[in-house]
């Protein structure tokens, strides 16, 4: 069964690939004027984070996870943005291609704002730095100066994340600490922390923005009031460091009664006339058997009466 499924997938992949085969694989020429355009958006961790989420929404379905080469097997194959071939382009070239599209590559001119496109390019560029240099080193110089100092000292030390729920303003506070060379536990500033609610199929981000810890190593987020929890309003909350390969992995989870209590109605339980439940309403059953009883009862009565014909005269 499984292998058949795979075969199916493979076949349909091939088939969808042929859909776009018509497009020639000639080099994609970008006008010189466009080539030299510089990225007007200033880089920051937030911008990169935004570019990343945009990449996931708009690009990942074809280009795959950067560096893994797991894009769709179309022809031509969508280039892995972490590859040297891709990174060899200028920012202007990337922008132009996103803007205009070609073949299976859609035109994003009106779909994504220019600023967002540049954010994606920042994200793509950050990949290059990550892959060529060691952990987190180069990317730190794109961070604001004060943070970079603090963050630089983090490298190599075990990092701890402690999550707390504050009932007064329904907010979550994550405190990050590291143990420094002197063996002291000190706050870890400048670390991006993502907060989630655990859901059945995945983790629901509490906030769209990813914030960084302050000098005290704390970062907070307030929980929206109307998030449905379980029947008691309990939410399973969980926080982790957003960029574990840079800062090390740490996470913590807590349960807090801060959601909207869910009213779980089993719609199949009530007696309904029609579709939802197996059990019919009483009036239908009474009408049904009542009518049946009357009709068949009358028939029985008639038959019994007719049998009296057979009675001999007294």
């Amino acid at each position: 069964m499984k292998s058949n499924l795979k075969l199916f997938l493979a076949l349909s992949l091939l088939w969808s690939a042929t859909l776009v085969m018509g497009q020639a694989t000639v080099p994609w020429q970008v006008p010189a004027a466009k080539k030299s355009v510089k990225n007007p958006v200033a880089v920051s961790p937030a911008v990169i984070e935004k570019g990343k989420s945009l990449y996931i929404t708009h690009c990942k379905s074809c280009h795959g996870d950067p560096g893994k080469g797991n894009g769709l097997p179309l022809v031509p194959k969508p280039t892995d943005p972490a590859s040297d071939k891709y990174q060899g382009q200028t920012d202007g070239e990337m922008f132009f291609k996103i803007q205009t599209g070609r073949g299976a590559m859609p035109k994003f001119a009106e779909v994504i704002s220019d600023n967002d496109k540049w954010s994606i390019i920042h994200f793509v560029r950050s990949l290059k730095k990550k892959s060529s240099a060691g952990a987190g080193e180069i990317i730190l110089d794109t961070l604001p100066a004060d943070l970079s100092v603090a963050s630089a000292s983090l490298s190599g030390q075990p990092i701890t994340l402690k999550l707390k729920y504050r009932d007064s303003d329904t907010s979550l506070i994550a405190t990050l600490t590291i143990v420094n060379e002197e063996g002291e536990t000190v706050p870890a500033p400048g670390v991006p922390v993502a907060f989630f609610i655990r859901r059945y199929f995945g983790n629901l981000p509490i906030s769209e923005e990813v914030d960084h810890t302050n000098q005290e190593g704390r970062v907070g987020v307030s929980i929206p009031r109307n998030l449905p929890g379980d029947t008691s309003g309990m939410l399973h909350i969980f926080a982790r460091i957003a960029e574990p390969d840079k800062f090390g992995a740490a996470s913590d989870s807590i349960d807090a009664i801060c959601g909207k209590p869910s009213v779980m109605v089993n719609i199949t339980e009530e007696r309904t006339l029609w579709g939802r439940s197996r059990v019919a309403p009483l009036y239908i059953i009474i009408t049904f058997f009542g009518a049946l009883l009357i009709v068949w009862g009358t028939m029985g009565y008639v038959v019994m009466n007719v049998m009296k014909i057979a009675k001999k005269e007294a």
Partner: protein, 334 residues
């Protein structure tokens, strides 16, 4: 503390899963012979087992050729599974997952008719190429509107017209909202096909695709496999996957991020391609989500996001317009 609890929970679950997987493999090897011997063993060991849950260890060969040591108790469980598995599948299949209310969101702006959903679905449910639990339709709402692709699964209506008319309770609504079909009960009257305004149901007019290979598999009502000649089949929201915490087959197979799936009670849906998890209500609110033919009062549980800002312009077999003969459009949006 909390973390530890979670951890132990999840590890326990993993253990359960592993064990279940193992028992399945075991079942294949041990087979019918073991069922009989184990039956006899069971009588003798029943008493002892109650005293000592670990019991005696036995060495067995698994399907992939590994030697494993299992307790007698597990062996017996595996052997009994052969006979009880089907009724257990039936019981849990009819009951559904408590506290859940499954919901699907289909983003039409992303669909480019890749049809991987259809292929994955047909593969999982052992369907013939013309049998669609999910079907990507070419739609056009009115003469001068833009055509678009619309994947159409079963809408798992909260007021399902199909279960209404079933004379034998072979198709039914579960507490988690899934409309299932029990092909061991279905009498093949096809009233449900007539009643469904969305043409979501298919019938096994002839011998199903894999009836020969599947004939010894215990029937799983949540997968509707093995399919049976003379009975109905339809989209099941991949109820078998949901039980395991996995997204439906179609949702996972989509390369374009079209499908979101989740639990309405959690107000959360997860995209099958990007695994992005978002709030259902916000997704619907921000994108103007709607349901198809809602005026029929069926309360569909599959929502659509309108085909705006499309990444890929409509194109089918080289044409950018719909052949009116081909679509005979009734109007997807009423």
């Amino acid at each position: 503390m909390e973390e530890a609890k979670n951890l132990s929970n999840s590890s326990q679950q993993e253990e359960n899963n592993a064990r279940r997987g193992f028992l399945k493999k075991l079942g294949l090897v041990v087979g019918a012979g073991a069922a009989m011997t184990a039956g006899a063993v069971y009588l003798g060991y029943d008493h002892e087992q109650k005293k000592n849950p670990d019991g005696k260890k036995v060495r067995v060969l698994t399907a992939d050729g590994q030697l494993m040591e299992v307790s007698e108790a597990e062996l017996i469980e595996a052997a009994n599974q052969g006979t009880n598995e089907e009724s257990e599948l039936q019981r849990r299949g009819r009951e559904g997952l408590p506290g859940k209310h499954w919901v699907m969101v289909i983003d039409l702006s992303k669909c480019r008719n890749a049809r991987m959903c259809m292929a994955a679905c047909q593969g999982a449910h052992h369907l013939r190429p013309e049998q669609h639990h999910i079907n990507v339709l070419r739609m056009q709402d009115a003469e001068n509107t833009e055509p678009y692709f619309m994947p159409k699964p079963c809408y798992h209506c909260d007021n399902p017209p199909c279960t209404k008319v079933c004379p034998v309770d072979a198709t039914f609504k579960r507490q988690d909202g899934i409309v299932l079909i029990d092909n061991q009960r279905c009498i093949g009257c096809r009233f449900c096909i007539a009643a469904c305004p969305y043409s979501a149901r298919v019938f096994n007019w002839i011998e199903p695709l894999k009836s020969e290979e599947d004939k010894d598999i215990p029937y799983d009502v949540e997968l509707n496999v093995p399919q049976r000649k003379g009975t109905i089949s339809k989209c099941l929201f991949s109820a078998d996957c949901l039980r395991k915490g996995e997204l439906p087959y179609c949702t996972r197979a989509c390369p374009n991020g079209v499908y979101y799936f989740g639990d309405l009670n959690e107000d959360t849906v997860t995209n099958g391609t990007t695994r992005e998890t978002v709030r259902f209500s916000e997704l619907i609110r921000k994108n103007g989500g709607y349901t198809v033919l809602e005026e029929l009062g069926t309360k569909p549980q599959v929502y659509y996001l309108p085909p705006k800002n499309r990444l890929f312009p409509y194109q089918y077999e080289g044409k950018t317009t719909i052949d009116p003969e081909d679509s005979r459009v009734g109007g997807g949006r009423g």
